[in-house]
Structure formats: C-alpha cells, structure tokens
C-alpha cells in the first residue's frame, strides 16, 4: 500500500494486520515506493488492517471465552501427559 510518511506512522501505530493481528511494517525496497506490510510477512499475506485496540480487546475476550468453553466442554480438553526428562531429551534428539 502506497502511503506518505505521515499516514504510515499513523497506521503502524494504531492498526494491525487484519488476518494475523501482527504489527505492521513500513517497507521501502529498491526501485519501489514505500508501502506497509504485515510484520509477519513470512507466514501471512494479509492485506487489510484492524485497529490495535480491537485486536487487544478480542485477545482478552478470548481468554474468558476459553474458560467458558472449558466449562461447557470439559471432554475436549484431554489431560496433558507429563513426560520425563529423558523422554523430552529423546524428543529433542539427544
């Protein structure tokens, strides 16, 4: 997205990627105009923006939502199997 520098700083401060809610970056490449990209551009190709405030609010809400879902569907949460030190090291290839 081509922007001028004032818009860039405004967008980067107040908005995040609409898809992955990561921060935005002002990118300036050679022979290309300055534009804004998702900071998680290695994994995300999102093009829209949402406000940072909205993303933060949704993150907080989702914690409460998860607690409610745990209460409604306890069977979805299988207990974590504790692994020994040797097993963890073996998984890591030692």
């Amino acid at each position: 997205m081509n922007t001028d520098i004032m818009d860039d700083t405004y967008l980067v401060r107040r908005y995040v990627c609409a898809r992955c809610w990561s921060g935005l970056l002002i990118v300036k490449r050679k022979d290309e105009p300055e534009h804004i990209e998702c900071g998680n551009h290695a994994n995300c190709d999102g093009k829209g923006y949402v406000t940072k405030r909205y993303a933060d609010r949704r993150r907080v809400e989702s914690v409460a939502e998860l607690a409610e879902v745990k209460k409604n569907y306890p069977e979805l949460f299988t207990p974590k199997v504790k692994k020994t030190e040797k097993e963890i090291l073996a998984m890591m290839g030692y």
Binding site: C20, S22, R58, S62, N72, F77
Partner: protein
Amino acid sequence: MIHGLTDRGCAFAQIGNIRKGMTLKKRRADGSEYTVPTDLDYFVVEFDEQETDAQEKFTAAYPGETREINCLLPFDDISRCWDPYCEAYTAGRMVARSDGEYFIYLTNQAGTVEVINGANINTGEKVPHKDVLWGEGTKAVKCRPVGRLKVIIPELRRAAYMVVHTTSIHDVANLSDQLRAISQLRDGHIAGIPLVLRRRPKEISVPGDKGGPRRRLVKWMLSIEADPSWVEKMLTVMGNAALPEGSRMLVLPQGESLSIPENMDQEEDDQIDAEFSDMGQEPDKEPIPPINVQTTPAPAPAAAQPSVLDAAIAEAKAKNMEAQKRTEEQVRIAEALQKIDNPKQPPQAAVERPGDPNWRTYVDGPETPTTPPPSLAPKAAAATANRVEQIKADLPGAVVTPIASVAPAAKQTKEARPTIEKNSTLFWSICFTNLGLKRSDVLKQLEANNGDYDKTLADLWPK
C-alpha cells in the same frame, strides 16, 4: 488454506472457515481471467495453514464433499455464537453495519465515521437503517445480510472454533429461528447440544437476469438441527417431567405380583364390626328433605388418546382381576373340601388342577404329610380312599392324588419304643408326631398312670 489465522494470539482461536461456495476463475474470449463467486451444494472447509493436524482429522471424519457436519456451539448465549447483521462493503472496507433497524456502525462516502456503537458521534442519537447508502444502479453501495456462526467441530477434539459464513437472507432468517427453537428445548441453554449443520435444497425466489421477472430456483441452503438421537432422549425426559407426581410412580418397573386371599383380614374386620355394634346406634337425626335439582347431562368426555399410562393401568387391572378370580376359586375349593374333611385329621390328599402343573393345593394342614402309626395305617388308607372319592364327586375334573400312598409306611414297632423315665421333649414328640395324639388324651392317660411316663407311653403305643 488460510495463512496466519491462528497467529492472532487468541486463547480461544479460530482455526478455519466453512463456506457455502468458492470463487472460480474463468477466462474471457480475449484471454483475460476473472473470478465468479459460485454457490455449491456442499461445504467448503478452509483450515489455517498451520492446522494440518486438524485438517487431517476433518478429512478422515468427512471424506469427500460433505453436506452434513456435526458441530457444537461454544457459548450458551446465541448472540455470542451467531452474528446476523446487514453489512455494506466497498472495495477496501466495511462502511456500514446495522441490525436491520438502526445502524451500529456507519461511515460516509469520504470515509469519516458517523455512527459507532449504535450512536451518532455528534448527536448521540440512533440512526435508522437504510438499504442503499450511496450510489445508483450497479455501483450502489447496499447493505446486505451477513451471517457468521461460530462452531466447534467435535471430531477435531480441539477447543477452537470455525466460522460458518453465509450471505443469504434465507439462511440468516432460517438459522436464527432454528437456533432459537433449539435453545428453548433446554430453557435457553444451547451449549452442549449436539447439532448437525446441513445443506438442504430449497426452492427460493431470485431476481431475474438483466432486469427480467423473478424466478424460482433450487438453492442449497443452510440448516442447523439438534442431533435426532439427542432430541429423542430430550423429548422422553420432557414427557416424564410433564406427568403429575402420582402418575410418575406408575412408570416405575413392574414388581412381583402378590396374591392375597380376600378373607385374610376377615376375622379382624369382624372383630372391629362387633366393637362398633356394641357402641349402640347413632342418635337419630332429623331427616333431610329431598332437594330436587335439575341437572343437565354432563357432556361426554373427549376421546382420550391411549397412552402408555392407560395401557399400564389396564394391564394392572387385568392382573388384579385374574388374581381375584384365582383366589375366589381357591377359597371355593377349600370350603368344599372342608365340608367333607375332618380338620384335625392330617392332610391326606392333594388336589391338582388339570392342565396346570403349577397349581396344587392341599386339604387342610401343612404340605408335608405326617405318617400315621402302623396300627392306624389301614384305617387311614380307607379314610383316604373315602375322601378321594368325596373330593372327586365334589370337584369333577380334579386330579386327586392320595399323599398317604406316596408317604413311607411307619417304621415304629413295639421293640423300637424308647424308654421314657421322666417328662421330656422326646415323650411329647413321640405322642404328638409319631402317635398323632391330642394333649388332653395324653394328660388323661398320664394322670391315670400317676405320672409314669414310660407306662403311659406303653399304654398309648399301638398294640
């Protein structure tokens, strides 16, 4: 695939989307490509790029093109799971959202926000909904119905949700009604109800091409219903809960039937009646003049539908009638036998009902026959034969088996008589059990022998 959907850092994350169609690329005659949104008759399920495990589980559970998906709603409140709105979009952003009555969010054509959280930024008043925001014809920016439903797919075994998208006004109205109806089955609680999301063909009215008349087309609409097996259980529970308190007890499993003779408490009743009769007559009361009341015949009750309860009551009545009939028959037989039987005589015959091997009654006394003394054996046999004849005459058709013929002959002999020197249990046992004597007769003989037990036993012993 959706890139980066699960990177948002949410605890309860969205891992994919479920859509009704997809955009297909088409090629024009000049070779250029364009995309066309195409409605399909099955679900298009898109998972986040990182959710390969969830995608494999889903593919294993729903191979191929699926038209039915099992799902659960994450929250009890429908409004938190189901977002039906009228929304307007331009190429870059959402410009309006309304609930069909007032705008919740609205921007003007320049992009300035006018309404937020349902209130005008300047005046604080609600702004009524309108379908067309600006523009004309094909370039008009219009509000269109949009529905998003958050669902948990149980086969994935994940505490994460997927969003079902629809932009059909029929789907929005239909899903809203169906979800409301399902929640009423459990008093407003919808979380935990196993649901099935389906694509169902339905004939709907669509606008004609190029301004032509409207026409009817079959479209595969969304439908959500509770799992039929769950509904069946729920209806049974609701049916039981609707029964009155007393009737619910009849629903309990049937216990063992107990047949009690009618005359069992007759003696007690007679005594109570006698007590009341001794108390004298009730004081005379003034006669109450008869009152003539004109009554209209009561309307005939409406024909009730036969229910499980009625069937159970009818069955219980039939069993009671059968037991009563059987008891009456037993009493009748016992009375008939009593006429010809000596009540002090040990039982000598068993009466069986022809064709019913389980029915067997004995004539007076315990079931175990007693053995008469050797000297009384011929007399007892003769008496038994006589009684059998009498029973046969009184109860035609009854099979009468003399028990005395089955019982072993007495083995008591004179040489086997024990010596009794003092009062003992053995003496009385021999007198009552072996000799079948009355206590008064034994006492008379004992008194005559001056309390000599051995001599008394010798005198009473059959010669």
